[in-house]
């Protein structure tokens, strides 16, 4: 027995340590949730008003529930991260798609949470949320009474902007994506049946009479029409990726919305780089899109420019917008998608870098205050 004494001592110690650890472990009661290593400064002490600046809509990772909104405050030129969380003590949800300003409200489409969060702009506090969608994609205002929302599954939802509810659904056979309003007509791109291969998918542009909420016509487009803008000459531009599987060469269509005919097709080389994020400046004379780098193209051009105005240099450009007043280019870099992204601001004429901002996870869209 004598030889066992040190062992018994060791065991006693181990038991004591274990019991001690149990109690330590039982003390922590704070909920275990995703936390930033460097918590952003507390803004509740000096409240920020989101009057003058740029909202960055950070998509977040699919099913991780880490969508967020960052705000570049023009007065101080600083970024405030995760303003929705700060104002509401809860996360925004899963996969934020875009934000639209309507009067004193911000309407944020949260795709995989199947809702639109309505916030009051001045403090970003949640006003209400609109639910009943299936994978909502984009929202387009029609007038002061209603807006349309596209979705991945089917049906365009009609939103009553006075009550923030879905009042009606316009039947569409398949996935609808981006929208542009022209003279009481909503032009909506449709990718085709989500479950089918690109070969079988029918990509088209639906034309909806916004007064009666009925589809009146449709135009065939290239595969995956993911971008739409209207220029100063009242021409409609539709950007088609050609398919995520490189099914066909990407293309851009110039459409006359009155005659409902495709005037011109710009075809891209099928070189593995898909064009995306078609946007236009506020004077509506120059369109922009990402194709690895950022391209700039006057609406009068007869062909696609051969070189980008901003080279990617290996960066992963993801979101793009043109500042409505100063015309500078805002482009996001998502890095490896599993960390916070960055925003670069470039001068649109010289292409020089003006600013770099930190954003949230997968910055995808911008929304400028008026």
């Amino acid at each position: 027995m004598k030889s066992n004494k040190p062992i018994i001592y060791i065991i006693q110690q181990l038991f004591i340590v274990s019991v001690f650890t149990f109690f330590l472990g039982s003390c922590s009661k704070a909920p275990i949730r995703e936390t930033p290593v460097d918590p952003p400064p507390d803004t509740t002490v000096t409240p920020v008003t989101y009057k003058n600046g740029i909202f960055i809509i950070n998509e977040g990772n699919f099913n991780w529930g880490n969508a967020s909104v960052s705000f570049i405050d023009n007065s101080t030129n600083t970024v405030i991260q995760d303003i929705f969380l700060k104002a509401n003590q809860r996360g925004l949800g899963d996969v934020a798609q875009a934000m639209t300003i309507y009067k004193d409200y911000g309407l944020i489409v949260v795709n995989n949470s199947n809702r639109i969060e309505v916030v009051t702009l001045k403090d970003f506090k949640s006003y209400t949320s609109i639910s009943g969608f299936y994978s909502p994609r984009y929202l387009e205002l029609i007038d002061s009474t209603k807006a349309y929302v596209t979705s991945l599954k089917e049906n365009i939802a009609v939103i009553d902007l006075s009550t923030f509810t879905i009042t009606k659904e316009i039947p569409t056979p398949t996935w609808t994506e981006v929208l542009a309003l022209f003279d009481h007509q909503m032009f909506v791109t449709s990718v085709g049946d989500f479950t089918l291969s690109n070969e079988k998918r029918k990509a088209q542009l639906y034309i909806i009479d916004t007064q009666n909420d009925v589809t009146v016509d449709s135009i065939m487009t290239g595969k995956e029409p993911m971008g739409i803008v209207i220029d100063k000459k009242q021409k409609l531009w539709v950007l088609c990726t050609g398919g995520y599987d490189f099914y066909e060469a990407p293309s851009m269509l110039r459409i006359d919305p009155v005659l409902r005919v495709v005037e011109k097709v710009f075809t891209f080389p099928n070189d593995g780089n898909l064009p995306k994020k078609l946007c236009i400046n506020s004077t509506r004379d120059t369109i922009y899109f990402i194709k690895d780098g950022v391209y700039q193209m006057p609406v009068t051009a007869n062909e696609i420019p051969s070189a980008p105005v901003i080279k990617s240099n290996g960066r992963v450009f993801y979101g793009l917008s043109i500042h409505p007043s100063n015309g500078s280019i805002f482009v996001s870099d998502v890095l490896d998608y599993v960390q916070d992204g960055k925003i670069y601001q470039y001068n649109s004429s010289s292409g020089t870098l003006l600013n770099t901002y930190k954003a949230g996870r997968i910055p995808a869209a911008f929304c400028f205050t008026n």
């Binding site: 038991f15 995703e34 949800g93 639910s131 989500f194 599987d245 240099n313 960390q339």
Partner: protein, 645 residues
């Protein structure tokens, strides 16, 4: 009752049997149906010289008959289990690697899907096996290539003294969770038949605080129904020939719960898994010589349904293994072998049927320099679809410095390869047929000490092992450059995984009490070592969802036919961004089991109460996946035992 101390020595001698199953035949046999007894035994398997192999015996598993494999590994092993919630996806991360680097086997039959290269551990019920053998790191090369983390082998064993064992167990738990297990083992000294049936179902609608909704809600759409049935026959002829035939069918129909940020969605997802495994095996044993041959079929069918997507997958594998052991040369033992596997897969996401044949040539040589120093060399070469892959070598050394003290130092080093899974190669549009195999270099140093007191009232075991490894060309699904909508597997990642594991195992009989302590602590730094895109700031950063610290410990106590277990887990923080700027905080969980056995002649009635998450910790293991707070279960178990003794 102290029993089986004799086989400590038996284990420490060079085992004539190369297979864990074999050793068990000579031991206490199938004790699932026995009362928990005080038993002095090492957790280590002293075979495969210089490599780390640990077992979890049936005694440990008995109170967990209603659990699944993920629970057992979480509570008793050093393997980190990433869980999406009770009854839903649970995957292992072993020594800082991914789920694809851990192979799970059932009696030597690979359970990992050839499509995904991994298995959902929540689908494997504890009641379907008798013990677990864990092969760490390079030890897995004796079974397969590519298991950089290791191999988890679930074993079933016959007890040749058994005449009749019957067991019926019913568990009723919180959230309408029910588990039923029925086992029957019948036979004599030459023939044994085991039949096992398990059924569990649950509504699983536990309440939790939903951060997005700002209130307590019940988990939606999380119900599951899992059942399985297996039949095994064991036949022994003249103590030289052993035959067995086993069939195991299991089915799981599960609703996939939404994330917390999507909790009010009316749209649902469903997953159905069916699997059939069948094996026939022959073993020939005589001193210094034995042979094993088995042939198995593993067929699976998986159905996924959501409003948008419906997809079906049917992976099938034919598995064959021959192993020969020859020990008649002094100081030398030779173990050549050959494996042949054939996979054929139908999937809605593949273009036509995809197949793969893998022929593996294998040899293990053990050499005893003297009584203190022993070594082993393992060489494996895979021939995939007729193409020779690089040779996988592993070398192990074992040193016992003292004659009277059970202290052993082990060291090993290996090079290993993981070949791409069929999804990585053939998934429609995204699959990348140009993938190279991942390469792993690993080295490991270990220390094992155990002691049995002279009067055999105390058994103590202490282990320490450190490892250092590199993974090159690791396959990761990354967005295709210039096309963020298309993600494709690429050989882009380089990982340095290193760490250490400490294990303690104590059994102590004092004042009529049986005390036990099992504890494991692991420290694991598994870091990205190569930048993938400019400015990504990932070099030197811990991989996401791999905790640096992980601890589990179980104290058990037995007296007056009462048994009590206190299980404590500490899971260190897990980063959720590759630049390590976000994390899930560390948490601790406590679970207790209290039970009592009532014995009358050959009948035993057991009543057991289990409390999980005793301190009602509000935690998420994976972001946005809610976990249950405090919950209870009550188990009634009835068994009848009749042995030859």
């Amino acid at each position: 009752m102290i029993k089986s101390t004799k086989y400590l020595g038996y284990f420490l001698s060079v085992s004539f049997f190369f297979n864990f199953n074999w050793n068990s035949v000579a031991q206490s046999g199938k004790d699932t149906l026995h009362l928990p007894e005080f038993e002095v035994k090492s957790n280590y398997i002293f075979d495969n010289l210089g490599f780390k192999r640990v077992k979890l015996d049936s005694i440990t598993l008995i109170p967990h008959i209603n659990a699944d494999l993920s629970t057992i590994l979480t509570e008793y092993s050093t393997i980190f289990i990433k869980s999406y919630g009770n009854g839903t996806l649970s995957t292992p991360s072993f020594r800082g690697t991914t789920a694809q680097h851990t192979q799970v086997e059932w009696n030597g039959i690979n359970l990992n899907s050839p499509m995904l290269g991994q298995i959902d551990l929540s689908l494997v019920p504890v009641s379907q096996f008798d013990g677990i053998e864990i092969l760490y790191g390079a030890a897995g090369i004796s079974r397969t290539s590519g298991a950089f983390g290791g191999v988890i082998n679930l074993v079933t064993n016959p007890d040749w003294n058994n005449i009749a064992h019957l067991l019926v167990a019913q568990t009723i738990g919180s959230f309408d969770n029910y588990t039923t297990d029925v086992n029957a083992a019948l036979g004599n000294r030459f023939f044994q038949s085991h039949t096992k049936f398990n059924f569990s179902s649950g509504l699983n609608d536990f309440p939790y605080y939903n951060d997005y909704l700002g209130k307590y809600v019940n988990q939606q759409n999380a119900s599951f129904k899992i059942y399985g049935i297996s039949q095994e026959f064991f036949w022994k002829l003249k103590d030289k020939h052993l035959f067995n035939a086993k069939v195991w069918y299991s089915q799981a129909d599960r609703d996939l719960p939404p994330t917390t940020s999507n909790a009010d969605s009316a749209y649902t997802e469903k997953l159905s898994d069916k699997s059939l495994r069948a094996v026939i095996e022959y073993k020939y044993v005589e001193p210094g010589l034995n042979l094993l041959a088995h042939s198995a079929i593993s067929d699976q069918a998986m159905k996924y349904r959501s409003l948008l997507i419906s997809s079906n997958h049917q992976p099938n594998t034919w598995i064959n293994r021959i192993r020969f052991t020859y020990n008649r040369i002094r100081k030398l033992s030779l173990k050549p072998g050959i494996d042949f596997n054939y996979d054929w897969v139908y999937s809605d996401n593949y273009e036509g049927m995809k197949t793969r044949s893998t022929l593996s040539l294998f040899a293990e040589i053990n050499y005893e320099f003297n009584k203190k120093i022993k070594s082993s060399l393992v060489v494996r070469d895979d021939i995939i679809d007729g193409k020779f892959m690089p040779v996988i070598p592993a070398i192990g050394l074992e040193y016992k410095p003292f004659n009277k003290i059970n202290l052993q130092v082990t060291a090993n080093a290996a090079r290993n390869y993981r070949f791409p899974t069929l999804n990585e190669l053939y998934w429609e549009i995204s699959g990348n047929p140009d993938l190279k195999p991942e390469t792993n270099y690993i080295t490991e140093l270990g220390l094992i000490y155990n002691l049995t007191s002279g009067n055999k009232i105390l058994f103590l075991e202490f282990t320490l092992s450190g490892y250092y490894s590199w993974i090159y060309d690791m396959i990761v699904w990354t967005p295709v450059e210039g096309n963020s909508s298309l993600w494709r597997p690429e050989n882009v990642r380089q990982v340095n995984a290193r760490g250490f594991e400490i294990g303690t195992n104590i059994d102590w009989q004092i004042l009529g009490f049986y005390l036990g302590l099992k504890a494991n602590y692991t420290f694991c730094r598994s870091t990205n070592e190569k930048s993938i895109v400019p400015d990504d700031n990932i070099v030197g950063k811990q991989l996401i969802y791999v905790p640096v610290d992980n601890l589990n410990s179980t104290i058990s106590l037995q007296r007056w036919k009462f048994y009590f277990k206190y299980n404590f887990l500490f899971v260190g923080k897990r980063f959720t961004s590759t630049d390590n700027s976000y994390y899930m905080p560390a948490y601790s969980l406590s679970n207790i089991i209290l039970g009592k056995n009532f014995a009358l002649n050959n009948f035993i009635l057991s009543l057991q109460v289990q409390i999980n998450n005793l301190f009602n910790i509000d935690y998420q293991s994976v972001a946005s996946r809610p976990m249950a707070g405090i919950n209870y279960s009550f188990t009634l178990k009835f068994s009848f035992i009749k042995s030859v003794d």
